[in-house]
């Protein structure tokens, strides 16, 4: 087990990792022995908590790097980004898989997780999300399969997958566009409950744009982590390119956000001295500050500064999702919600498992394309296939 996962060498982190998993296991026991009431601080007044707000909403958003980079490399044919494609796909695959696990734990009857496949309600946003996510996980598996095939030398499957790669990537981008925005649409139906700083008819659009930001930040973050922990080569010029795009999209996102606030005449709400205001400002600062920094080439050229900026964007994004799903609802639902320890420990465990699996994948699968032998091969292949 230890060999397989190649845990961090430092004793300290290894102990932390196992303590978190231990806590998660205890949390799981409480969840399944005593039900959601025993394991969570959820109630009739506050039915959605950390597992929905963080694991589902943020988890899916953090995986948006997969479709963003896949579209860049395959659809827009910007081949120079290819070296980071698989890292992006891996973060997406892990984000989505762990989301699926968390959702299974969160729903009241986990053994019915398959129901949406057969029981349809096309009027439900959640139904659309469920289907898009199921299909997109399949797409992600197909997109990542070449890495596994190369590792084990399965040439036949490799050729077969390459043959269908174009439509697969395009379907993946469509599915991502749909469900990333639909996660925002989930909250369109609570206009009287969600605080006006977050409720807007533009929720689906804002969710989509911010997911792209989070996805790009996640790719930068994962690249830096692999560099630091595994000594993988850091493609700074590529990350510089990503960071430039990230800065522009952040600017676009924040502009849309503020134009929308002023159009809905709720900009004045920002002046109220309320908890919501401070959380809103925190969210905007965590997205605005890295945006300003990333517009400077000096910052983009430094791997360390890039890492800090990507972290800020990730935190800003998570803050936004938690605000929409939790804090923005608290005042109208007339209650305060803080997660109980099993909610926290299970969430932390899933994140830790994500790190560990990413590490294992980075060590054992050809995620980092450096020398590019197969880029050459594909150059010969592609004119034939067009």
């Amino acid at each position: 087990m230890r060999k397989l996962l190649e845990l961090p060498q430092t004793k300290f982190w290894r102990i932390v990792f196992f303590l978190i998993l231990l806590g998660g296991a205890a949390g799981l026991y409480v969840r399944f022995m005593y039900g959601l009431g025993g394991a969570t601080n959820l109630s009739d007044a506050f039915p959605w908590g950390l597992w929905k707000g963080f694991n589902v909403l943020a988890g899916i958003g953090l995986g948006a790097g997969g479709f963003t980079v896949a579209a860049t490399v395959h659809v827009f044919n910007l081949k120079r980004y290819r070296p980071i494609l698989r890292i992006a796909l891996m973060t997406a695959f892990l984000g989505y898989s762990l989301m699926a696990v968390a959702l299974t734990i969160d729903i009241g009857r986990p053994y019915r997780i398959w129901h949406p496949i057969f029981m349809w309600n096309e009027h439900s946003v959640l139904f659309e999300v469920a289907w898009c996510v199921m299909l997109y996980l399949t797409v992600l598996s197909l997109e990542l399969a070449p890495a596994v095939c190369e590792r084990f030398g399965w040439q036949k499957i490799l050729t077969w997958i390459r043959a269908i790669s174009a439509p697969v990537v395009i379907v993946g981008v469509i599915l991502s566009t749909l469900h990333q925005s639909s996660l925002g649409s989930l909250f369109l139906i609570v206009p009287e409950k969600l605080y006006p700083l977050w409720y807007t008819p533009l929720l689906p659009v804002l969710f989509f744009i911010s997911a792209v930001c989070a996805g790009l930040a996640m790719v930068i973050f994962a690249s830096w982590q692999s560099h630091r922990a595994l000594g993988k080569q850091l493609a700074v010029p590529l990350l510089d390119g990503l960071a430039r795009v990230l800065a522009v999209i952040l600017l676009f996102y924040l502009s849309v956000r503020f134009v929308d606030l002023s159009r809905r005449d709720v900009l004045g709400v920002v002046l109220l001295n309320r908890r919501e205001t401070w959380l809103f400002l925190l969210e905007i600062a965590l997205l605005g500050i890295p945006m300003l920094l990333l517009f400077q080439s000096r910052i983009r050229g430094s791997a360390h500064a890039l890492y800090i900026c990507s972290l800020m964007v990730l935190f800003g994004f998570v803050a936004n999702r938690l605000n929409v799903a939790i804090t923005g609802l608290e005042s109208s639902l007339g209650t305060h919600y803080l997660p109980k320890w099993p909610e926290l420990m299970i969430t932390l465990s899933l994140v830790s498992v994500g790190f560990a699996v990413f590490r294992a994948a980075a060590l054992h699968l050809p995620l980092f394309i450096e020398g590019e032998p197969q880029l050459e091969a594909e150059k010969e292949l592609e004119p034939v296939s067009v």
């Binding site: 039900g35 959820l42 009739d44 139906i189 206009p191 009287e192």
Partner: protein
């Protein structure tokens, strides 16, 4: 138009007979302690509330276009032609989106159960089908809760307001709220004093999501064409460039 319930707060004396009848009908335990709880919960699907000098009642509003029916991803909720909104516990996966979305905060959950269900008032669907009134209406000694054709209940409510204008706040709650509900409220005071949400749009809430969701096929097909087109252009350009710089080009042709 279907059946409905009219709750007239001005006639309610807070005897809680409706609660008792409701508990009996659902085979739920009922005692003084449960009676004192003024919120609906998994073991109490209707609740009489004291609100200052007035009483109020909590029960499912049975919307004409229910939010729960629209949001449930497996279609566990259904608005029947008879009026009640009913719940199929065999479909429910327990995502609790109905609870978050319901503008009246009606669906409640069996939080302490290992195999939990959503619970809510179903307007005694089985009794209505058998031609009987709801258990709460049958049990009410003062006529504060009445059951019947929704149209007739609205007419009756209008008549009461017209006959005693000094005793009633001059509106019927539920005729327009959230697109109209089968459960209607009359009150002596403005409805927010009965704990009813008054910030709801008059349009049914599911319209808010449907106007976005119904565009899914358009977005998908347009995105498909757009992405396919971009793919074709970017790769075609490359193919042309490759072919032009190919030293063996002459021989190939």
């Amino acid at each position: 138009m279907g059946l409905g319930i009219l709750y007239d707060s001005t006639l309610c004396v807070g005897c809680r007979e409706c609660e008792k009848a409701c508990a009996a009908r659902w085979k739920l335990p009922y005692n003084d302690k449960i009676g004192a709880e003024e919120q609906i919960s998994a073991h109490k699907l209707t609740a009489v509330q004291s609100r200052g000098d007035h009483f109020s009642r909590r029960l499912c509003m049975h919307c004409d276009e229910p939010t729960c029916v629209s949001v449930c991803l497996v279609g566990a909720f259904q608005k029947t032609a008879l009026g009640p909104v009913i719940y199929n516990q065999d479909k429910c996966i327990g995502c609790r989106y109905c609870m978050l979305a319901c503008p009246f905060k009606v669906p409640v959950y069996e939080w302490s159960s290992r195999l939990p269900r959503v619970r809510k008032c179903d307007m005694c669907f089985d009794r209505l089908r058998a031609g009987k009134p709801t258990a709460c209406a049958e049990a009410c000694p003062t006529g504060a809760t009445a059951c019947g054709e929704r149209n007739q209940l609205i007419a009756e409510a209008k008549k009461r307001i017209a006959e005693k204008p000094d005793q009633y706040f001059p509106r019927i709650y539920g005729v327009e709220e959230a697109g109209g509900t089968s459960t209607l409220f009359l009150s002596a005071v403005p409805f927010e004093q009965l704990g009813l949400p008054v910030n709801l749009p008059n349009a049914a809430l599911p319209k808010l999501t449907w106007q976005v969701l119904s565009r899914t096929p358009d977005v998908a097909s347009l995105a498909g064409v757009l992405l396919g087109g971009i793919y074709w252009i970017t790769h075609r350009r490359e193919a042309v460039a490759a072919a032009e710089s190919d030293p063996l080009r002459e021989r190939k042709q």
